[in-house]
C-alpha cells in the first residue's frame, strides 16, 4: 500500500513557509519541499515527485491557478492532489478556484496542529483522480 510521505508547498510569504515547515515537516513528519513560487515548483517537481501539492493562490509572477495549470500538464503530476491555500473565503471565489481543477481549498489562517491531518484527508480522497 502506498505510503503518504512527500508534500510540496508553494508559498511566497516566508513566515507562512516557516509555519508550513513546522506543521507539515516537523509535526506531521512529512518529507517537505518548500518553494517560494510557481517556477521553483515546476523546476523541482520532477525530482521531488510530491504526492500532494499545497499551492498559494495569490503569488507574484506566477499565480496559484497558473501554476496549477502548468503542473497538471506534467505526466508525473497525474493523479496528484493539488490543494489551494488562500486567505479569501468567499463562496464564489472558492468555486472559481475549484473550477481550475484543485482537489480542495484550505483557508488561511490554518491551524498548524490540524493541518497534517487535513492534508492526509485530501490525499486519501484525491489521489489517483484527475479533476
Amino acid at each position: 500500500m502506498e505510503k503518504f510521505e512527500r508534500v510540496m508547498c508553494v508559498e511566497d510569504d516566508p513566515d507562512i513557509r516557516l509555519i508550513l515547515d513546522f506543521s507539515i515537516g516537523r509535526m506531521g513528519g512529512f518529507s517537505l519541499c518548500l518553494c517560494s513560487g510557481g517556477q521553483e515548483a515546476l523546476d523541482k517537481v520532477e525530482g521531488f515527485r510530491p504526492q500532494l501539492v499545497l499551492l498559494d493562490v495569490m503569488m507574484p509572477e506566477m499565480s496559484g491557478p497558473q501554476t496549477l495549470t502548468k503542473l497538471k500538464e506534467l505526466p508525473t503530476m497525474r493523479g496528484v492532489p493539488i490543494v489551494f491555500l488562500t486567505a479569501k473565503s468567499m463562496q464564489e471565489e472558492m468555486e472559481e478556484l475549484l473550477a481550475f481543477g484543485a482537489t480542495g481549498i484550505i483557508v488561511k489562517p490554518f491551524d498548524p496542529m490540524t493541518l497534517p491531518d487535513n492534508i492526509r484527508i485530501y490525499w486519501e480522497h484525491g489521489r489517483g483522480t484527475d479533476t
Partner: protein, 101 residues
C-alpha cells in the same frame, strides 16, 4: 502574547514559540510595508499576507483586522480603511511591546 495550544507536545511548543518570536520580530516591517505601500495594490498584497499568516502564529484577531482593512479597500471606503489601519497598527504595536516586556 498569543497562546500556544495546551495539547501541543512540549518540544513542539518550544519550537512553535521560537518561530512565533521570529514572526513578532518581523511585525514592524510588515506594518511599514502596509503604511508606506507605493500603491493600493501593494498595500492590499501586504494586508493579504498578514491576514494569511497571523492566525497561524496564534494572532487571529490581527488577521481579522487585516481582513477588515482589505474589505474596506474592496468597497472603496476610505474612512473605514483609515480606521482599520489605525486599529491594526495599534494592535500590532501592542504585540511587539508585550513581547519586549
Amino acid at each position: 502574547m498569543a497562546q500556544i495550544p495546551e495539547t501541543m507536545d512540549p518540544d513542539f511548543a518550544a519550537q512553535f514559540r521560537s518561530i512565533q518570536l521570529h514572526f513578532i520580530a518581523g511585525l514592524p516591517q510588515r506594518l511599514d510595508e502596509i503604511r508606506s505601500a507605493a500603491d493600493s495594490r501593494q498595500r492590499y498584497v501586504a494586508l493579504h499576507r498578514l491576514a494569511g499568516a497571523a492566525g497561524g502564529y496564534g494572532f487571529p484577531s490581527l488577521g481579522d483586522m487585516a481582513r477588515d482593512a482589505m474589505q474596506a479597500m474592496d468597497t472603496n471606503s476610505g474612512s473605514m480603511l483609515d480606521a482599520s489601519l489605525q486599529k491594526l497598527a495599534l494592535a500590532l504595536e501592542a504585540i511587539v511591546i508585550a513581547d519586549e516586556n
